[in-house]
């Protein structure tokens, strides 16, 4: 499952997330979205490198990014 998910149609390709990512796994796609922007993305193969640090989401002005992490399973 993905750790970081982009709502591509809302992305404006500003690259603030690109700059923010400590793992350097975000980049802009070649394709254009409906608004004419190159959306940010993390390649499927890079999802594993994501540490779920959330910094990309913190910098995204357009509410594009949701970040997940594996739940810490509580022993109940």
């Amino acid at each position: 499952m993905k750790r970081v998910v982009f709502r591509e149609e809302r992305c404006k390709g500003c690259e603030l997330c690109v700059e923010a990512c400590p793992e350097d796994i975000i980049h802009l796609a070649d394709r254009l979205n409906a608004n004419g922007y190159h959306p940010a993305m993390v390649r499927d193969e890079d999802q594993d490198k994501c540490t779920s640090c959330g910094l990309c989401a913190r910098m995204c002005p357009d509410l594009v990014i949701t970040v997940y992490r594996p739940a810490r399973v509580k022993v109940s």
Binding site: M1, R3, R10, K12, G13, C14, E15, L16, V18, E19, A20, Y37, S52, C53, G54, L55, A57, R58, M59, C60, P61, D62, L63, I65, T66, V67, Y68, R69, P70, A71, V73
Partner: protein, 253 residues
């Protein structure tokens, strides 16, 4: 191997509407909106909060928050907020204002709302320029900065040094909380949120006026890419507008 169960680290706040924002790519207004909404979520005050939008790029922010809203005339958001809060002292009232709005045309209104100690929270977005009207000089424009009405760069002779609103307002005795933060890297964004939360909590506790000045960017009118703008702000704006808590009454912590 079984898929791990995932939990959410970061997602759009509840208090924001799920609609695209009209801001330019990389404009930090969006970050600030999110922080305010996150604080509203966390304090659980969405249903008792009333926002006041000002005239500037953020004029439409009543479309983005799930709270009641009033759109105020240019510069007058603190007066509008005063009216609302005095009628509903039990509600949480905040304004969201740009630097042209708050530090230029609205100077009298912000000074006097602060002096009276209106129990409102002011989110003051300082991007050193008039964004909405396409990049004219603001009172906060840095010396030497070129804008469409300071084509040779702001000069001290005739235009003076930029105004530091937070420091100016902090000379007043009444306001409870005044802080300056920035949203120009993830760490600063985090501290910005803490300050915003403190400002709202100040109001929740029934204390006087609170204001958070947020150093922001306007990539389009600065003529930079969003990341260049971030770097420029960090280098130049923070040198003139130091970050930190400027006024904290002993009781607020």
């Amino acid at each position: 191997m079984a898929e791990p169960v995932m939990e959410v680290v970061a997602r759009p706040p509840e208090s924001m509407e799920d609609v695209p924002l009209h801001y330019c790519p990389g404009c930090t207004h969006g970050i600030i909106h999110r922080l305010v909404a996150e604080v509203i979520d966390e304090l659980g005050i969405r249903e008792k909060t009333i926002g006041v939008a000002s005239v500037g790029c953020s004029v439409l922010n009543y479309n983005y928050f799930k709270t009641d809203f009033q759109q105020a005339a240019h510069g007058r958001a603190p007066a509008v907020a005063t009216g609302i809060k005095r009628v509903h002292p039990d509600k949480i009232v905040f304004t969201y204002q740009g630097d042209g709005d708050l530090a230029s045309i609205g100077t009298a209104e912000i000074v006097h709302a602060a002096m009276r100690g209106e129990k409102i929270t002011v989110i003051f977005v300082n991007n050193a320029v008039y964004g909405m009207t396409s990049g004219q000089m603001a009172p906060t424009t840095l010396v030497g900065q070129k804008t469409t009405t300071s084509p040779r760069g702001r000069s001290v002779e005739g235009q003076g040094y930029p105004i530091r609103m937070s420091e100016m307002l902090a000379t007043l005795q009444t306001p409870a909380y005044i802080a300056r933060v920035a949203v120009t890297d993830p760490g600063k964004v985090h501290r910005a949120k803490l300050a915003i939360r403190k400002a709202f909590r100040t109001q929740l506790e029934g204390k006087a006026f609170s204001l958070v000045e947020i150093i922001s960017t306007c990539p389009v009118n600065w003529g930079m890419t969003p990341n260049e703008a971030i770097a420029w702000a960090n280098q130049n704006m923070l040198a003139y507008y130091p970050l930190g808590e400027i006024k904290v009454p002993p009781e607020v912590s």
